[in-house]
Each structure stands twice: as C-alpha cells, then as structure tokens.
C-alpha cells in the first residue's frame, strides 16, 4: 500500500521530507498522474502538498511579487497583482492545458517537473525570477536561470522543496511578450515558446532585453548571445535580420514526435523578429 502524507504546516512537510525518504512530492498531480497512468512505478510514499495553504499566498513587495509554489494557474490568471505586474505570466498560464488543468496544475509543479516544454518557464527566465527552496535546514534562494542542471534535472536536494517564486515586477517602461507555438488551440504541448522582456525608448533603441526560449534546448534557456546582438541598438530591418539569424544559431532544438529541428529553429528566429517588428511598428 502507498503511504500518503498530507501535512497542513510547512514545517511538518519539511520534517516528513527529512524523515521518510524515498518520497515523491505531489502538488496538483497533473504531471505525475499522467506518468503513473502510463506505467511509471508509483512510489510507496507520497507527500501531498495540497493542504499547505501557506504556499498559496501571493504577496506584493516594492519590486517583486512573491508567489507561493502551490498557486494554480487559475489563481494566477485571476489575481489583480499578477495581471498588473506579470501579465506575461498570465498569458502563459492561460495557454496551459484547459480549464481543468488550470484549476489544478501549480506553478511549483511546472518548475520542478522540469520539462523543457513547461510553458511558464521562459517567463520566469526572462524576468530573472528567484526560486525559494525550503527544508528542515532552512530556506535558500537560487536564481531561476541556475535552477536546472541538465535535462529534467534541478538543484533540489532530496529533502528540499520549492516554497515560493520571487518574480520581479514588469516595469511600466518595459514591453514584454509571451509566445507559444503549440500544436492546436488548447491542450497543446509547446513546440517552441519564447518570452521577451525589453526596454525600448522613443527612438526605438533597445536599452535592455532579456529573451528566454523553451522546447528548443534540453532546458529552458536565456539566449544571451542574441540579447547581446540586440542590446543598445536601434530597431530597423537590419537589426531584425541580425536578431533572427543570431537566434537561429543560438537555439539547440531537436527533432521529436512533436516537431522537427528545422522548424523549431526557423520559428525561434521568426518570433524574435516578430517581437522587434511589432515594437518597431508600435
């Protein structure tokens, strides 16, 4: 029989993580249940986070939002502060699965599941989010861009869990976009997605830019070479062409059952071109 622990206090959860290994954490279960249904062995011990209301808060600070790991997509989509300060996270959340999954799937689950196709991940990368990690040993913070150590691997130790996500607010002068290229209008696993955040002045000069892409490398990545090729320059046809080319060189896509390498590469280039073009025209 499987043993399921359902603590109501975070400290209790840390204790369980510390004492009962091996153990699998379950939040919304929307990734795990799919795996178990298709034959992945169900572990003997499970830690059910669902009752940890402490991890459902969204708090506003001067420059950032602190989002509990257990916040569901529906919660993010409805929250006024998230809508105002992280509209691209809302855009990403709206593309996930459909209503049932949005009601149950959590931001923490999306992060720790560590799929390169996790839709919220490029947004967190582009906004330099910080992941708060907890255990009996205390809390620690890791920049989101350092969170993954390889394909489906994270910095989490066995006894650790994600508690909160610290997400810098989008500034009024910043323009940001989330693009998802799926296979259909809903219930789609991404073939390519991109999140861009930029400060562009009245002269159309790109003062700052952060670009993150998903599904085109073993983990979500920041395309820093492309950022460098754009940063400080004025948007024109030639910059758009350069950005497209840089992006196509920087991504590391593969061919799998959802799409092929050539398409993913081309579309990654097209998306950054689209972002610049739309800002140029704006």
């Amino acid at each position: 029989m499987n043993k399921v622990y359902s603590p109501k206090e975070l400290s209790e959860a840390f204790q369980i993580l510390n004492s009962y290994q091996p153990l699998k954490i379950v939040a919304g279960g929307t990734d795990l249940m799919v795996g178990y249904n298709s034959g992945m062995p169900v572990p003997d011990q499970l830690l059910n986070l669902w009752k940890l209301d402490e991890l459902r808060h969204i708090d506003e600070y001067p420059s950032l939002l602190k989002i509990g790991a257990l916040c569901t997509y529906t919660q993010l989509i409805k929250d006024e502060r998230v809508r105002k300060y992280a509209p691209t996270l809302v855009d990403a959340a709206k593309t996930i699965g459909a209503m049932q999954i949005q009601n149950r799937g959590t931001l923490g689950g999306n992060i720790v599941n560590a799929s390169p196709a996790g839709d919220c991940l490029p947004v967190l990368a582009a906004f330099d989010a910080v992941i708060e990690i907890g255990s009996v040993r205390g809390l620690r913070q890791v920049p989101f861009t350092d969170f993954y150590t390889g394909y489906r691997q994270t910095v989490l130790a066995e006894d650790e869990m994600v508690t909160n996500i610290l997400l810098p607010k989008q500034k009024t002068e910043e323009s940001a976009k989330f693009y998802k290229v799926g296979t259909r209008a809903a219930q789609a696993i991404s073939k390519v997605m991109m999140s861009v955040r930029a400060s562009i002045d009245a002269q159309k000069c790109v003062k700052e830019i952060a670009i993150a892409v998903g599904s085109v490398a073993p983990t979500v990545i920041r395309t820093r070479l492309t950022e460098m090729a754009i940063r400080g320059l004025i948007i024109d046809e030639s910059l758009i062409a350069t950005a497209r080319k840089e992006m196509m060189e920087e991504v590391r896509p593969i061919t799998d059952i959802r799409s092929n390498e050539h398409y993913r590469r081309t579309v990654s280039g097209n998306l950054i071109a689209k972002f610049l073009r739309e800002n140029y025209l704006a």
């Binding site: 290229v181 259909r184 398409y263």
Partner: protein, 759 residues
C-alpha cells in the same frame, strides 16, 4: 408529419444522465479479465515463450493458438489473419498470447512476466518497400488486390491534350478515436453456446467470426450490442478480434471474461485509415476541360488484408471526383506491409482519393490560371452524364445546387478577392472542395447482403422495430422510429426497439457504408408499410369496410361508415389485430432499384444506386511567423436527398467535417520500426472545440426515389471534402500547395521554402 422534424434523440436522455450502460458498466460476480500479450517486433519467427518465475502461474489461465478448436482466423475476406499468431508475427502489436485472471491488475502483472523471444526477419514498413517486393510478405508481389477501370482511349487523348498536369499526393494513417474504446464480455454457456456482448457496429460480423473460430452453428453463438460510444468504422471488423480473444479465454477459464482496452492499447491494436500515395496525370484543353486522366492509387493495407480490397475499390471508383472525363484509366492496388492492419474508417477510401483529386483541381486551376469555381463548373457531372464506371446519373444529382449554395452562403467570390492589410503578418486564404459519395455497398454488394428488418405490434399496443443496424451515436434509432411513426400515424415515442441481439433481430447487414438510413431505413419503411396493410386488412374485416379506406393518423385508425367517421385508437386496433394470432410481425428485405447493373469483372456499371453531393468552403488565416493555421469559417452545402431529422443530418455533416479538418491539419501517426510513438491523446493531435470555428451547414433536398422519403446516405460524405478545402485555403493564403496531409506548420514551411527556391 414527423419525418423532416428534428425530434429528440431516442437514447439521448439515457446517455446524458449516465443511465446508458456501456460494456464496461456490466459487472458479473464471477467475471474474469482478459489481457493480450502482443508482439514487440514487426516481422519475426517466434522462437520461444518463457513464463518467468516470480509469478504464481496457477492464479491465471493462459490461451494461445492451440486452444482454437476450429480455424485460427479472424473471418472476413481473405481469412489470412490469425486470431493469435502461431510461429510468425507480421506486425508489432500482433496478439500472441491471452491471459485471464480474476482481477485486471493480476492479468497485467502476469503479462509482465511473459518473455517472448524472436528471430527477426527483414520488415517491410512502407508502401515503397512493399512495391519493390525485395522482401516478399504476401504472394509474389505483396499486392493484396488491384483494380483497373478504363474508359475511352487514354493514350490518344493525352496526345491531343493542350496542357498536362501531373502531381503525386500523400496521406497518412488516421485513427478513428471513438470515445469509448473497444470492449467485449464473452460467456461460454454449459450447453456450448457462446454469448458475446459489447461495443460494436456489426453484431452479425462478430457472429460469423465466432462461428468460424469454434465451428459452431448459427444458434450456438449469440451476439448482443451494448450501448456503443462511437465507431466511425473502427468497430466494423475489429471487434471480431476482441470478441474472439474474450471467447477463447471464457471457454478455457469457465468464467465470463471482460476485455476492455485502455486508450493506449486500443490505439496501437486497432485498425486505422489506410495511408496512400496517389498520382494524378491529367490532360486538358487550354480553357480547362478534362480530356484525359490517369490516376494511380496505392494503399498501405498493413500486415493482413482485413477489408482492404473493398476500401480500395471505393477509392478507385471515387478517384476522379464528380467530374466528367471521357478518357480515363484508374489503377489501384493495396499492398502488404509489416504494420498493423488498416481497415474501415468513415469515408472508406474516399477521403484519400478525394484529397488527391481535389488538390489536383487546385493545382490545375493554378497552372491554367482558371478560377477553381470555373474549373469545376466546366467539368462537373450533371443529370444524364456518365461517371468513370460508365454509370449514367439519371436522378437526384445535386452537383450544381451544392456548388451554387456554398458559394453564395460563404460569399466565396467576394472573399477570395479580399486584400490583406499591408502590415499584418497573417495571411487570409479561402479554399473550395466539391465531391460526392456513393451510398450503400459498392456494385452488387447490397444484392448479396439482402438486408432485412421487421416491425411488430407490442402487447402495449405500440410498435417495435427489429433490426441489426446499430445505434452508434449517429441516430439510427431516432430516424428509424421517425420513419415507422410516419408510416403508421404514430409519434416516434410510440416506437420501440428490440434489443440488438443476433438471436432476436434479423440480419440487416452491417452498420457501415452510409447505408443505414438509405438502405435499411427503406427496408424498415417497407416493413412498416406491410404492417399497416396487414392491420388495415384485419380491421377492415372486423369493421366491414375496405382496407384501403382506413387511414392511419394521429395515433388512430379512421374510416367512414354511413357518412360518419369512425375512429379507433392505434393501441386498440393493435389489440384487435392480435386477438387471434397473439402477434403481428412483418418483415421486409432490400432489393435494388430497378435497372441497376454492375459488372464485377470489368468494374463497370452502376457502382452505387445513388450519390450524395457536397461542396465545402474553408477560410483560414496563416501566421507567417509560425506557419500555424487558424480556421476562421467553414461553410458546407450537402445534397442529402431528404433530411429525415435535420438536426441529426447537420450533426453528421458537422462532425464529419471536423474529423476531415483534423485529418487535413493535425492527425498523424508517428512510427519507428513499426511501432507507434504517439498512442495517446496528448500526442496524437485531434482538434479541440477551440480549433473549430462556427460552421454553416446548408441542406439541399434532392430526393432519391428509392430511399425512405427520398433520403440518401450521408454518414461518410462529410469526411471527404474538408481536408482538400482546408489545404486549398492554405495554398490561397501562402501561395504554396501542400501535397501531403496533415498540412502541419512544418510542411507548410517546407512547401513555402521549396516555392521560394524554385522562384
């Protein structure tokens, strides 16, 4: 008047409230569960089956081919498919061994402890490999069946052609994806009777397959259809396999055995639409008249023949589309590969043929710079014209009407000249398709089947229909009750159905081929008419009036006597009619309309008693950054003969069109070494409700003189035209014609790149 009204679905309430019992809802106390152990390789000799230690084998019952007492076959056309592999496996997922256990989990666990060893043989996995016949897996040439249809003098006609257009089209597998997966419960009775119940389209197909398997007479096999959650052809022949497995286990273990597939197993184990490569070469005059055509179709049959010859035959006959061409040769073959057998799927060979022929029309219109509409108008069939099998169309030819209606309702001409806003990176496109589909079995098929149905009076004074035509969500029960009610002056709710059980209902033929309404509906109507006549006769003799004077109206029988109208309720009349015999039942049998002629040898003549016609207009927006397609609007116009129930007719058209759009845009089976990589709904992509826009559905009624109230078969037709209209719209938007479906963003991008290179 109930025919022509959108009365509620007969079984709708039970389905919506959950009262309807599907096979998996049946629980018998002593039931066991069946599990199928399948091949993991595409082509091999089985060298050994090991039952691993660590499992208590005394807790389960095993069965293999040696347990089959009569013939190890899935009886169908060639009888080449074994129910269980003997020494050779010919495709991945081929059933080898069966396990029955008191619980599902135990059966699963046992299956994990079976280890099969193989000596691999070279596998033929594609049409090209099969055609090369380097590796022979069926006969000398790997060809299950081929056909040639010729009219006129093709070579001479090509000589005189001013323009020749040639192109090859590719279509892939498509899964039926009925909501309810395959499921059967088999019980072996102590008197030797085998009882099968479950999800199926054709109880009498299962009946025959089980008889052959065990060498049993008719009455020793009873097949009952449970409420069935969709079929789309996927439950035409395939349930015979599941039923055979369950029956074999039931006989051996002495318990009723239930086999209900999980989605993943259903996806890999069951039949799919045949992939095809179709080449068109067409000779025309400069102004776009077809004068010569050569069409070659090659279908991938998979490892066993199943229904492939019949699927191909329909594809061949529909290969040109509803057009005239005096000189034409169509060749078709279906070849064997070491992939799971393909089989029936709504459209039955025509969606493949229609995609190729309609995309070819698109290519011709581009090459000749003639509008797609004008090209169709110049070549379309009209009443009096001949099809490619030499069939003269003498009635119910709605070609012109459907084309006019779809153009008008979609505002096609105005929208086609629609200009793009300069700065947008989205491109608008509009596409047209024009097509037809023959109703009922091909050629002499219906004459061989001689479908029967009966109606009888019940003790409650209502009417009961006895038919083997199944309700699979398409509305059989609703329209049949409307037809009978109409004949007898009753309401549809006064009509009930005998359980669909081979020991109780006559063989109406299978529920396939768009024949249920048109063919069996007609037989039901005839049976009701005989019942009416018989009732009138009996009442007339009691009432001492003429039978012909008796009217059936408003749930009453009415006649005049001495200037007065006498009326007796239908129920009372029914009671009087049965007072002496105790029952009154009339049976009718199908016979072809007069004058129908078909030659199976030359493949010429009246291929179908009538065709239904349709035209689609699809509008799309293509994102030029991602090559994603958004379908904006779909307009269809369909000549249905007569809509017995307009809402159900529209439902058939809309549902079929959605399936066709999925075929054209998304649905693709991914293969590796003969294995399916995407056997789940997360990666085998079908449209969601968000992918499908509002549809405008125009019904045109051009009555068929030999159908019930003029109705023609429209079950499959809507599956044919959606894909080519969609891909034509994409071509209109981006300038490049995609010749292989699904037209995924990847393929659209490649087609555009190819066009750019050529330019």
């Amino acid at each position: 008047m109930t025919v022509g009204q959108s009365v509620n679905r007969k079984e709708g309430r039970d389905k919506v409230t959950g009262a309807a019992k599907y096979v998996d809802d049946y629980h018998f106390q002593d039931i066991w569960y069946g599990k199928t152990v399948r091949s993991t390789v595409a082509h091999a000799q089985i060298t050994g089956i090991e039952f691993l230690a660590g499992f208590d084998w005394s807790t389960v019952v095993l069965a293999d081919y040696r347990d089959i007492t009569s013939r190890n076959i899935v009886a169908l056309i060639y009888d080449d498919q074994p129910l269980l592999a003997e020494s050779l496996v010919r495709h991945v997922y081929e059933p080898i061994l069966l396990i029955a256990a008191p619980t599902k989990e135990l059966a699963e666990l046992a299956a994990k402890h079976v280890h099969i060893t193989y000596k691999k043989l070279p596998a033929v996995l594609t049409i090209e490999d099969s055609l090369s016949a380097e590796q022979k897996i069926f006969g000398d040439d790997n060809v299950f069946k081929s056909y040639t249809v010729t009219r006129g003098n093709v070579e001479d006609a090509f000589q005189s052609a001013e323009v020749v257009v040639e192109e090859t089209y590719h279509v892939g597998h498509q899964e039926q994806l009925y909501i309810e997966t395959n499921g059967i419960i088999a019980t072996a009775k102590s008197d030797g009777t085998i009882l099968i119940q479950g999800s199926m389209q054709c109880p009498y197909y299962v009946h025959r397959a089980i008889k052959e398997l065990f060498g049993l007479p008719d009455e020793k096999v009873v097949v009952v259809q449970n409420v069935t959650g969709g079929g789309f052809g996927g439950k035409e022949e395939f349930p015979s396999v599941v039923a055979g497995h369950a029956a074999l286990l039931a006989k051996k273990c002495g318990h009723p055995v239930k086999i209900v597939y999980e989605r993943g197993e259903d996806f890999v184990a069951s039949t799919k639409r045949h992939p095809a490569v179709i080449r068109h070469r067409t000779g025309l005059t400069r102004d776009g008249r077809l004068i010569a055509a050569e069409i070659d179709l090659t279908f991938d049959g998979g490892a066993y023949c199943t229904l492939s010859p019949v699927v191909l035959s329909r594809g061949v006959i529909h290969a040109l589309g509803p057009y005239k061409c005096p000189n034409i040769r169509v060749t078709g073959k279906v070849v064997a590969t070491n992939t799971p057998p393909n089989g029936a799927f709504r459209g039955f060979g025509v969606p493949q043929a229609c995609f190729a022929s309609e995309m070819h029309m698109e290519n011709i219109s581009r090459k000749l710079d003639i509008s797609p509409v004008e090209l169709r108008r110049k070549n379309m069939l009209h009443q009096g014209d001949y099809t490619l099998t030499g069939q003269q169309l003498t009635y119910s030819v709605g070609t012109q009407q459907v084309l006019d209606a779809v153009l008008e309702r979609s505002d096609y001409l105005a929208r086609r000249s629609h200009k793009q806003p300069e700065l947008s990176n989205k491109r608008y496109g509009i596409g047209l398709s024009f097509y037809y589909h023959g109703g009922g079995f091909t050629g002499s098929g219906e004459e061989k089947i001689k479908g029967q149905a009966a109606v009888e009076l019940t003790a409650e004074g209502t009417v009961r229909i006895l038919t083997a035509s199944t309700e699979i969500g398409q509305g059989t029960r609703t329209i049949f009750s409307q037809i009978v009610a109409q004949e007898l002056g009753l309401r549809p709710e006064d009509v009930e159905f005998e359980e669909n059980d081979t020991s109780k209902v006559p063989d109406s033929g299978p529920t396939v081929a768009s024949r249920t309404c048109m063919v069996v509906g007609r037989v039901v109507q005839m049976a009701a008419a005989s019942l009416k006549e018989e009732m009138a006769k009996r009442i007339a003799s009691l009432a001492q009036c003429q039978a012909s004077e008796i009217q059936f109206e408003g749930r009453h029988l009415l006649w005049q006597k001495d200037g007065e109208i006498i009326s007796v309720s239908f129920a009372e009349a029914a009671e009087r009619c049965m007072s002496r015999t105790g029952f009154l039942k009339t049976t009718a049998q199908y016979s072809s309309p007069p004058g129908i002629k078909w030659d199976d040898v030359t493949y010429s003549g009246d291929a179908y008693p009538v065709y239904a016609y349709a035209a689609d207009v699809v509008e799309v927006e293509v994102d030029m950054d991602t090559f994603e397609v958004k379908i904006l609007k779909v307009t269809t116009a369909t000549d249905v003969g007569k809509a017995i129930n307009p809402t159900l007719a529209e439902g058939q058209i809309e549902g079929g069109t959605v399936q066709a759009l999925g075929y054209g845009l998304f649905e693709e089976v991914a293969w590796k070494d003969g294995k399916i990589l995407n056997n789940r709904l997360t990666n085998y992509i079908i449209p969601t409700s968000l992918d499908i826009p509002d549809m405008e559905t125009v019904l045109i009624e051009n009555p068929y003189p030999y159908g019930p109230y003029g109705a023609k078969g429209i079950g499959e037709l809507p599956m044919d035209g959606g894909a080519p209209a969609l891909v034509a719209a994409i071509a209109d938007a981006v300038g490049a014609v995609v010749t292989e479906i699904p037209a995924t963003p990847e393929r659209i991008m490649e087609a555009m790149e190819k066009l750019a290179v050529e330019a």
